[in-house]
């Protein structure tokens, strides 16, 4: 047993000697070559590609949710790597709220074109127009996406849907499996989830059920930005600092636009802002930011004292369990 003296400035030394005492083999073997240890980003990339390939192998008809937002863009990039030099062997699905930022829709179409993908659009506006859905009192359409999403899954007989959900986003998502079963009504049962063991993923299900697959579950917002920076992935321009006419509501800067009009008591101003998330324009806020490059955004996100949803999503502030309730009904 190694004797340890314990003073505050010898903490590291003490930690080592304790370890030496109890785990001689693990600690003495300093022969591991540093170049054969994956960095955090490489480890996350390898895990995501493993999941994407495995589901492509196991499922009959998967689709990938693609909104044009940063997480789904990273998903597409990973899928491109997973199958290279073959094309991505499944379509992409967008649930269009009708409240999208025009820049994001333009980016979506451009990306689909560039990668030669088949795009399936489920339109919330269509559902509202023919009366299958009704506009909510608060005007937000994020919760209205569930029914068109589930119908698109049924109509196209998709048996698996890849999503860009991350566990660090929200505490209900923190409970999510990488491969997560949905029943015939699209419902998530958080109390009855499948054990997910080693790197063995099991998407088997009964007819009518499907799985949601979250290959970037273990990525954080900073990981996403560091990866976008490293891989030089093009994004919609509104993620970077730009001047925009905005007004203050619920502690957020909302863009002045067709679905987000200021009331009389909400003065507008032009500010240098960027978006941390892109969603329904009526409830997605911009943040004050001078960050014009990926590297600047990495530093900004790392320094932020707010979560991305806390800073930018009015709908997630409704209640402590807003996301859980939406997910149980079949939301992403």
């Amino acid at each position: 047993m190694t004797t340890t003296t314990n003073t505050p400035d010898t903490q590291a030394a003490a930690a080592t000697s304790v370890a030496d005492a109890t785990q001689p083999n693990a600690y003495a073997g300093g022969s591991t070559s540093a170049d054969r240890r994956l960095s955090q980003l490489d480890a996350l990339e390898a895990e995501a590609i493993l999941v994407i390939r495995e589901m492509a192998g196991e499922l009959e008809r998967p689709a990938l949710l693609f909104s044009g937002g940063k997480d789904s863009v990273v998903m597409l990039h990973l899928a491109t790597k997973a199958f290279w030099p073959a094309p991505i062997p499944f379509p992409v699905l967008h649930v269009d709220t009708g409240h999208n930022f025009p820049e994001v829709l333009a980016y979506r179409d451009e990306t689909v074109e560039r990668l030669g993908l088949r795009l399936v659009v489920a339109s919330v506006q269509d559902y509202i127009d023919d009366g299958r859905l009704r506009e909510r009192a608060d005007g937000t359409r994020n919760p209205l996406q569930t029914v068109p999403l589930l119908d698109a899954i049924n109509d196209n007989r998709f048996d698996g849907v890849f999503g860009g959900g991350r566990r660090d986003e929200e505490k209900a998502r923190a409970k999510e499996r990488i491969v997560s079963l949905r029943d015939e009504f699209g419902q998530w049962d958080p109390k009855n989830q499948r054990p997910e063991l080693w790197n063995l993923f099991n998407p088997r299900h009964r007819p009518g059920e499907h799985v949601r697959v979250f290959p970037i579950s273990n990525w954080t917002e900073v990981d996403i930005w560091r990866y976008i920076d490293r891989e030089d992935i093009p994004l919609a321009p509104l993620y970077y600092a730009h001047e925009r006419e905005v007004f203050r509501r619920d502690g957020m800067w909302l863009a002045v636009g067709p679905v987000s009009r200021p009331r009389d008591d909400e003065p507008t101003s032009t500010r240098l802002v960027r978006y941390r998330t892109v969603g329904d324009m009526s409830c997605t806020g911009a943040v004050d930011s001078p960050a014009r490059t990926n590297a600047e955004i990495v530093l900004e996100v790392a320094a932020s004292t707010l979560t991305e949803r806390g800073a930018t999503r009015a709908d997630d502030r409704i209640s402590e369990a807003a996301m859980e309730d939406r997910k149980k009904e079949g939301y992403f």
Binding site: A15, A56, G57, W84, A174, K191
Partner: protein
């Protein structure tokens, strides 16, 4: 609750931004219900400045609404409605935190008896398990069960956090007694290198920094220890294996003309290292060939190592399809149709001999029949006893017959090559976690070690 909980965390942007350059350590918690796991996790997140101000404000608001005088850090991870209502953790929650040198993925696993399968889930990918033990209660049934799972799953490192040390007046005598008790059980189960730390998750003693309230303890704080643990073995010490997930053959759909004749075998390097020029063998066919190229997306590599996801190009067009394993030619495993294994049974309906199931190993799924049930682990005295069936949460020894040969390896040699799932073919549920070649202790347990065992004193 200490005053530090009230302060707004200040992140170190350089540390967070640079965290991706460091290594990733996967951590799982375990321990009996009420031993304070969620509080410990909340404390780790808080003390590493990983809790952002809106999250902390939400926790403080809910705590206030419930009439608590200080923030209940367990609310940081107990995110589901039912968890908050019942004050318990129901499902594994994954959380992320980073220090200047390392990033952590933390699986917070419930201790409630009916949710032991979640501890299996969390432990199966963990580099280290932090086992919580209540200093007032010592080893409980769940503690034994979780240690048994940890030992079986061969989690590389086990840390025993003897929690609520504040509630026993920071008594060294109590700590020594509990530690000796835990270590005795751990050694019976085959965990020979558990490291114990006295902590108060509620107050933060010995979590991020060493506590002045345990002057008799000379070891590291929990976070110091986690930062110092080696993440994984050098892949060069293992044999190369790659389960083939997909055959990439774009033909006319190739992204460019130059790749029309491309033929590659995509998969994650499960273990070991592969280099261009290496002789490999396809299993179960046994055909040999040579690696002529390694691709990661558009990048071409000279070598790939675990756990990289790559695509291999081979010299010969041999018959390889999804589910096959490409292995180093020198010491390839022998495919077999007969397996002895220990399984953690996770199904609601019991397992009985004669039952037919699916077995997933790597990227291959085959039919299997349970030939015999050779014993079940009795968690009171930790040895195998005869049984007619395995019930939910039981750990048992089984003999399986497979419908086709599979190149399994001994789990003690390779966590990746020796692990498998058992799946109910009817509804697709995962009903067991299996470990090839693992065994259960057959002799009755030795009597508990005396207090203050010298070997384990820190």
């Amino acid at each position: 609750m200490s005053a530090s909980t009230q302060t707004t965390p200040v992140l170190d942007p350089a540390a967070v931004a640079g965290a991706g350059r460091g290594t990733l350590l996967r951590l799982a918690t375990a321990g009996s219900v009420d031993d304070g796991k969620s509080t410990l996790v909340g404390r780790l997140l808080h003390d590493t400045k990983s809790v952002l101000s809106d999250q902390l404000a939400a926790v403080e608001r809910v705590s206030r609404d419930r009439g608590l005088t200080a923030a209940d850090l367990a609310l940081l991870t107990d995110g589901l409605r039912a968890e908050r209502e019942q004050g318990i953790t129901i499902d594994v929650a994954y959380r992320y935190f980073a220090t200047a040198t390392r990033s952590f993925v933390l699986a917070d696993c419930p201790g409630h008896v009916q949710y032991t399968r979640n501890t299996v889930t969390g432990s199966s990918t963990a580099d280290v398990v932090v086992l919580l033990v209540d200093a007032r209660k010592g080893v409980l049934e769940q503690t034994r069960r979780h240690l048994a799972v940890t030992a079986l799953l061969r989690v590389p490192h086990v840390v025993v956090a003897v929690n609520k040390i504040d509630l026993v007046d920071f008594s060294q005598e109590v700590y020594d007694r509990v530690e000796a008790e835990v270590q005795a059980v751990a050694r019976e189960l085959g965990v020979v290198d558990a490291i114990a730390i006295p902590v108060s998750a509620l107050d933060g003693d010995n979590i991020a920094e060493r506590s002045s309230r345990t002057p008799w303890y000379s070891g590291p704080s929990l976070l110091e220890l986690l930062e110092a643990l080696p993440p994984s073995d050098d892949p060069a010490h293992e044999s190369f294996r790659l389960p083939v997930q997909l055959v990439i053959r774009p033909q006319g759909a190739a992204r460019d003309e130059a790749h029309r004749d491309y033929r590659g075998y995509a998969g994650q390097v499960a273990t070991g290292v592969v280099r261009v020029g290496d002789d490999v063998v396809a299993l179960p066919s046994g055909r040999r060939t040579t690696v002529v190229g390694i691709d990661l997306g558009e990048r071409t590599l000279d070598e790939a190592f675990a756990p990289q996801s790559v695509t291999l190009r081979l010299a010969d067009e041999i018959d390889i399809s999804r589910g096959d394993v490409i292995a180093a030619a020198v010491d390839a495993p022998e495919p077999t149709q007969d397996i002895k294994a220990v399984v953690c049974w996770l199904g609601d309906a019991p397992l009985r001999p004669g039952q037919r199931l699916l077995l997933k190993h790597g990227s291959r799924t085959v039919q299997t029949a349970v030939r015999t049930l050779d014993g079940v682990l009795d968690l009171d005295d930790l040895h195998a006893v005869p049984s007619e069936a395995l019930s939910l949460n039981d750990i048992g020894l089984v003999t399986l017959r497979l419908a086709a040969p599979v190149p399994v390896e001994n789990y003690s040699v390779s966590r990746r090559g020796g692990s498998f799932l058992l799946i109910d073919a009817h509804d697709g549920r995962t009903v067991a976690a299996g470990m090839v070649g693992a065994t259960l202790p057959t002799a009755a347990a030795a009597p508990t070690e005396p207090e203050g065992d010298e070997e384990w004193e820190i």
